[in-house]
Symmetry: C2
Subunit: 190 residues, 2 copies
DNA sequence: GATAAATTTTGACATAGGTCAAATGCCGTG
DNA sequence: CACGGCATTTGACCTATGTCAAAATTTATC
């Protein structure tokens, strides 16, 4: 099993020992998904989290018939349903692949067990939540202080890969603006 | 030392043993702050986190001369500078008391050591970050899908105590609307 | 309990970004 | 290499919320 990028990314967040690495490897199953596949469906228990080795996904809500993208994940990232992992509730969020994806699946149950029993992974879990929290915090600040155009610029800076690999509509809804507005902003830009 | 509400709140997030409780108690110092005291100043290392036993605080950014409230904390909560705790950087966030406050101070260094060595606290740390992440996630969703008025209603529902104890301007900036707009909304409400 | 200071309400007007619909461009499939 | 379907751009118009400033109300101070 070649979890190269996943392990690399975990070690960047919180270095883990080779035993922990092995425990993790023993807990996952490799899986492959085509482009546009619904990895996690709202209203259904998936009971799994996925470490992404290759490809990109987006998470989104469906609110009043509209899709609102809440995050993009790619090589080294992890996706799961917050509602399931945190609160043992049915997911309200969808995750779909934007490209062909190679991922490692772990059951939510096993992941929680690892958190409870392995202090390295408990700390890794804490750190990735810190990081995500900070990303949201930052985007919250940007939303309150920057114009739509400046937010797009900031997004391009922060997530250049996503900008290239995801289509406009998804980025617009992530930024909380309309597809037409975003398109206009790009047009206005010299 | 009576850390009643703090300990209660920790146990709600992730139950800890009495040994862990004692380790925590041995690591903190009780302190008292008057109303309107700057607990954490931007641009200065405070090197401390505070468990709040009594009273309320708000955290905010100062952007272009404007204060943007990012969160309120009260009995049982913990406040700290994300930049210091996570990234060993000088804080960009202020925290000030809105009431007289009784808190328990712990050095950031000691808190991180506890995370590294005590699996219960590592998991507690993970859980509170999950919860905060979820709060932000939710407010992000509300900002994208609800009108200013509906967001205020949602806020009242979710944080009734804060609504009563914090002044309008702080709530307005938390919700990302103007003081005048919020005041109008309240007026319009039958 | 009067005066000052802070907070909240209200008014008149401005504007960023939304809405809806049409037009154009692009790219994979047969 | 042409067709069909997405994806993007553009146009005309609209509305929720912002801005700035003054008035009213509440709260704190002596």
């Amino acid at each position: 099993m070649n979890m190269k990028r996943v392990i690399e990314t975990i070690n960047e967040a919180y270095p883990i020992s080779s035993e922990t690495e092995q425990a993790l490897k023993d807990s996952v199953t490799e899986c492959h998904f085509p482009k546009r596949y619904q990895l996690i469906k709202a209203g259904a228990y998936s009971k799994c989290a996925y470490f992404i080795e290759e490809g990109m996904t987006r998470s989104f809500w469906l609110v009043n018939g509209e899709e609102i993208t809440t995050s993009f994940s790619y090589e080294g990232g992890i996706v799961f349903s917050m509602d399931e992992l945190y609160y043992n509730k049915v997911s309200e969020e969808f995750v779909e692949t934007l490209e062909d994806v190679v991922a490692y699946r772990i059951s939510v149950e096993r992941l929680l067990e690892l958190f409870r029993t392995n202090i390295e992974l408990a700390n890794w879990g804490r750190i990735i939540h810190q990081n995500e929290y900070r990303r949201l915090h930052r985007s919250h600040k940007e939303r309150l202080t920057l114009s739509a155009g400046d937010r797009y610029e900031a997004f391009k800076q922060q997530f250049p890969q996503v900008c290239q690999r995801a289509q406009l509509g998804y980025i617009a809804s992530y930024l909380g603006i309309t597809l037409s507005t975003l398109s206009r902003l790009r047009g206005a830009k010299k």
